[in-house]
């Protein structure tokens, strides 16, 4: 069973933080298929956040296909994220770092880099689907 924590100063909304923490746990192998996520009650008793936030996070994970809610029982993991292709991460990471450096030299700030990246990523994803 994993435990959540909340960083109130990170600027990331709470429910997203929970989503990210679940995804990280999946990636690191701390959660496996069939494991149960903590109940909403246990989560809020631990970190004093709104239950709706937890529900929203779990719904998002369910939408992404990572977990499934079984009414009256709990929420369970249905898919892992680690896919053993960590070997290819290294060169890809380096490519990205080079691109970031270029963007900074061109005068873009963090927000613009992020905006540009998200925008390009989304249109590439759309093209991929089509």
């Amino acid at each position: 069973m994993i435990e959540f924590h909340l960083d109130t100063h990170s600027g990331v909304s709470p429910y997203l933080q929970l989503v990210h923490q679940v995804r990280r746990s999946l990636r690191l192998g701390l959660l496996d298929v069939g494991d149960q996520l903590p109940t909403v009650k246990d989560v809020v008793a631990g970190i004093a956040i709104n239950p709706n936030t937890v529900l929203k996070a779990y719904r998002e994970l369910e939408y992404e296909g990572l977990v499934a809610a079984r009414p009256g029982v709990g929420t369970f993991v249905t898919k892992t994220l680690g896919d053993g292709s960590a070997a290819s991460y290294g060169p890809l990471r380096q490519d990205l770092q080079r691109w970031f450096a270029k963007a900074r030299r061109a005068g873009l700030d963090d927000e613009s880099i992020d905006a540009l990246f998200q925008d390009t990523f989304r249109s590439a994803a759309r093209e991929g689907v089509a």
Partner: protein, 298 residues
């Protein structure tokens, strides 16, 4: 979506002073609503109007579909913890539970005992000898064990140390998750509200300045930074909440649902604290001479 509290033009006057004026609210059920505002803004007055301790001077208020004064059945549906969590100093913890059992037909004795047990309170201890945090927990137990649909808490953690505050909120959230309560709690500490509230009401200068679901509010407010510009030249669908200028730069806090397309602006999200402060600042601009005494904790 049902409303738990509906107020139209609600006002309360004491002598010549309006503690609350022209309040219109529609708090939906199923949320934890945070009522935030400086001291003297009317938070306690509003809450006491909701639970029927006060009668309005003007306007109308409806709680869970009925108007106060309430019958016993209606009283049973609302739980209230007043500021300073009043408890009978001479009565023991167990006596307080007996009080709850005798005065509330919907009393859940098992729940009350479980809570007291889990909180580690000694049933035979007199309430006067408890710490502030323990008294707050006792008062909350009394309010929750009557199994209300709506819970109203007036500054429940104001006089608690950080640990007691965190424990109180953890406990409260657990009860909300378990029983599906709707909660309205007031505070002048925005940080606590940020954690637990998903509905916001900003009260300043005896008026409601802002209400809404927190996520929606955060999504529709933006901070625009850019070269100095006259506010009147912004698009009309961008409502300006706050504006500040230097000789070269303007910063606006705007509210809009439309995307902001002007590339001259740097668009940023606004945090909840800044949002609340902006609306309270707006209130003081119209109500000169009153400074907000909101505590910002970091």
């Amino acid at each position: 979506m049902t409303s738990v509290v509906k107020a139209v033009g609600l006002g309360k006057r004491y002598g010549r002073r309006w503690a609350l004026s022209d309040c219109t609210l529609d708090i939906p059920s199923g949320h934890v609503a945070g009522l935030v505002g400086p001291n003297g803004a009317g938070k306690t007055t509003l809450m006491q109007l909701v639970v029927g301790l006060l009668a309005p001077t003007t306007g109308a208020i409806e709680v869970l579909g009925t108007r106060p004064p309430a019958s016993p059945a209606e009283l049973a549906r609302v739980g209230f913890v007043a500021q300073e969590t009043p408890t009978y100093t001479a009565l023991s913890v167990a006596d307080h539970l007996r009080l709850g059992a005798h005065l509330n037909p919907t009393w859940d004795a098992a729940l009350a005992d479980r809570r007291i047990d889990r909180l580690g309170l000694d049933p035979r201890q007199r309430a006067g000898k408890l710490s502030g945090g323990q008294r707050a927990q006792l008062a909350l137990t009394l309010a929750i064990a009557k199994r209300p649909e709506l819970l109203i808490l007036d500054e429940p953690v104001a006089s608690l140390d950080p640990l007691a505050r965190r424990e109180f909120l953890q406990d409260l959230m657990e009860s909300v998750a378990e029983h599906g309560l709707t909660v309205v709690l007031s505070s002048h500490l925005v940080a606590d509200l940020e954690r637990v509230c998903d509905y916001l009401i900003v009260l300043a200068a005896a008026r409601v300045q802002l209400t809404g679901i927190v996520d929606d509010l955060l999504a529709s407010h933006h901070r625009l930074t850019g070269p100095r510009r006259d506010p009147r030249r912004l698009p009309s669908d961008e409502e300006i909440i706050q504006a500040s200028h230097t000789d070269r730069q303007s910063t606006f806090l705007v509210r809009t649902d439309a995307p902001i397309l002007d590339p001259a602006w740097t668009v940023e999200h606004v945090g909840l604290e800044d949002l609340v402060l902006a609306y309270m600042g707006q209130a003081t601009d119209t109500d000169r001479g009153r400074r907000p005494a909101l505590a910002v904790r970091r």
